[in-house]
Point group: C2
Chain length 148, copies 2
């Protein structure tokens, strides 16, 4: 069984190289631009009503994967699925960003953490009732918060 | 440009038909089971440290899409990307669920909202710092909360 995904747009960001890219959007105030291809633009109607959106995208510069990785925020090995490491069997990334404005098929976003030119696969509205959870345990990431 | 995705496992749930399936996990206390295929099981190491995980999966029973849809929670048309409607250009679903336990390559989960047999594409740890946002505006979904 396989599923073929094709980009619906492209994410523009200030980050040209992996080394510059923030680890997660909460660590980034960077502004970016989501360009949705014109043939999909009608699907953006009403999206400006949401303060935050979820971007799904392809980690297009990542290939291959290993099942145990040393993530950016730690120096020990962890199971890949206990990390957000980009090299994954299905290299799909997700980021919650703030939607600042829409002009036609262009979304102005804040808190972007992806490489410039990242292929966009989907956009979903961020809805607290669906997506906000009180995580009581954050595994190996505990204590590796914003202060570090 | 295209990306070929192949399942890394399968999500088992009590829901055999679309009509039975809760609209979102926050509306569901249903228990389910994520079966990660043995060849990917090593990637689960340390995942039990997280109280919540993000499942990415294929809406395998959805085909085609239209750019303006009438979502389950409303009777007006909205742009597809302002909804969580399953028929999308790239039919990827995401759900935040509670991770109750792990036995080897099997994850016991709570709050599942997908069809039994849904192909799993990825698992990521849910990390409040990355994923939790205070959404100030929820567009057309505002006021369509748990009470309705």
């Amino acid at each position: 069984m396989e599923f073929v995904m094709r980009p619906i747009g492209i994410i523009h960001s200030p980050f040209q190289e992996k080394e510059q890219t923030p680890i997660q959007p909460s660590r980034s105030q960077a502004q970016g631009r989501v360009e949705v291809y014109p043939e999909f633009a009608a699907g953006l109607e009403d999206i400006e009503g949401f303060s935050h959106i979820i971007l799904l995208y392809a980690f297009h510069q990542s290939s291959g994967f290993t099942l145990r990785v040393k993530p950016f925020l730690d120096d020990r090995l962890h199971g890949l699925f206990a990390t957000r490491y980009p090299k994954r069997p299905n290299p799909i990334g997700i980021s919650v960003v703030r939607l600042a404005a829409r002009q036609g098929n262009i979304l102005q976003i804040e808190g972007v953490d992806v490489l410039d030119g990242t292929p966009l696969l989907d956009i979903k509205p961020y809805v607290s009732e669906f997506d906000l959870r009180t995580a009581t345990r954050s595994g190996w990431l505990e204590g590796r918060g914003e202060s570090q």
